[in-house]
């Protein structure tokens, strides 16, 4: 079970790997599309990599609700439980 801090750090690494964005840029209040300029294809890659990293399932219909980094951290945190 990863803590929320670990989930954020892990997500930041995944985002960096996919987009080249610095890990520091991946903050809880950032919007994936508005602030981080992540398109839907990159988002799906990030989701699948997060599923693998945190051993959770993120249903496709849930992805549209993950607007901010915090949304994703919370979803993964709950899904682990």
């Amino acid at each position: 079970m990863a803590s929320k801090e670990e989930i954020l750090a892990g997500l930041a690494e995944i985002v960096n790997e996919e987009t080249g964005l610095e890990t520091d840029a991946v903050q809880l209040d950032k919007s994936f599309t508005e602030d981080l300029d992540i398109d839907s294809i990159s988002m799906m890659t990030i989701v699948v990599n997060a599923e693998e990293k945190f051993d959770v399932t993120i249903p496709d219909e849930e992805v549209k609700n993950l607007k901010t980094v915090e949304d994703a951290v919370n979803f993964i945190d709950n899904a682990q439980a």
């Binding site: 790997e17 996919e18 987009t19 080249g20 294809i41 799906m44 890659t45 699948v48 693998e52």
Partner: protein, 420 residues
Amino acid sequence: MSRKVVVTGLGAITPIGENVQETWKSALQGVSGVRALEQDWVRTYDLPVRIGALSPQPAEDVVSRVQAKRLDPSGQLSVAAAREAWTDAGFSGRDADTSDEVDPTRLGVAFGTGIGGVWTLLDAWDTMREKGPRRVKPMTVPMLMPNGNASSVSMEFKARACAITPVSACASGTEAFYQGLHLIRSGKADVVIVGGAESAIHPITIAAFNSMQALSRRNDEPERASRPFDVDRDGFVMGEGAGAVILESEEHARARGARVYAELAGAGLSADAHHITAPATGDEGGPARALREAMESGDIAPEDIKHVNAHATSTPVGDVPEAGALRAAFGDAVDQMAVSATKSMTGHLLGGSGAVEGVLAVLALTERTAPCTINLENQDPRIDLDVVTTARDLPSGDMVAISNSFGFGGHNSVAAFRSV
């Protein structure tokens, strides 16, 4: 009077060089790019062919780590070769949007491939079988589609006139010149980035080409395996890489003060409608007709042509008809042509070969030197051509150099460059 089309930039990433300069130097020195393949899969599948001509990887400042994840290996090679050609052509910015000299809506792309993203497709299949459909990458389709390379080059340089993909097997790279010539002559574009790329050295393609007896099995002597026109040739050697050329209307090139390497004077294209793999022969065969179209479209006489970069793949059946087609199209003037078979060094880059060989043909004109044909120890007596074994000076004065490509499916393409 149709618009003159000139060559203003060259790019290449090949088994014998990371760029144009290195590739040309190797081609003059007779360096082979063919090596024993060391990948695990060679042993895993006990492949009967264990040699190939691998390309260097593009540098990270040309294709970034993130960009590389979104491009098939052939796309990475395409962008690298096109980047070199773009820079070489002297445009002031990184792309058409940031360069004052070219209107993005007047910049086109014609970038060919033989197969497309074969690694991407087969990697995705492996992932699917090992991890299930959820793990198949969302970028799989854009990376495997054959137009992916043309699209990537278009996006990289903000080319908005068009981005077309000649797909004619091993003739694709030369067909790109044909398409580029006509895009400019027709007035559709002022500048076209033409080229071709392939990265398909995969156990499946090796097995498949081997099944049709197309590949050399000279595994113990990789550097001697690709031997076009030699009596002991036993097949081609798969290679990978890319070539790219900036074509431009003469008017446009002069207006921006660009250096001009050569004129793309003419080009030819034909289909055999004969046999899926065996080339058509004789006076009315596809290769001879493509050669004649190249002459006619460039107002070229056979006597003008002093150098031929031959298709010459080193297969037992392919090399002889090419010699016949040259004689059928050019008559006795062929005796005055210095013929080079550079696949002897690079291996066969499939859809990339015509693009790289076009670059070499242009350099042969500007440097007045015909590059090597290595491994020609005993010339096949059925091939009555003056083949250049060690780099040889070409005469001074006006001249034409041609580059031929003939592909499975009966696709034939020829590009004819005139000195300026």
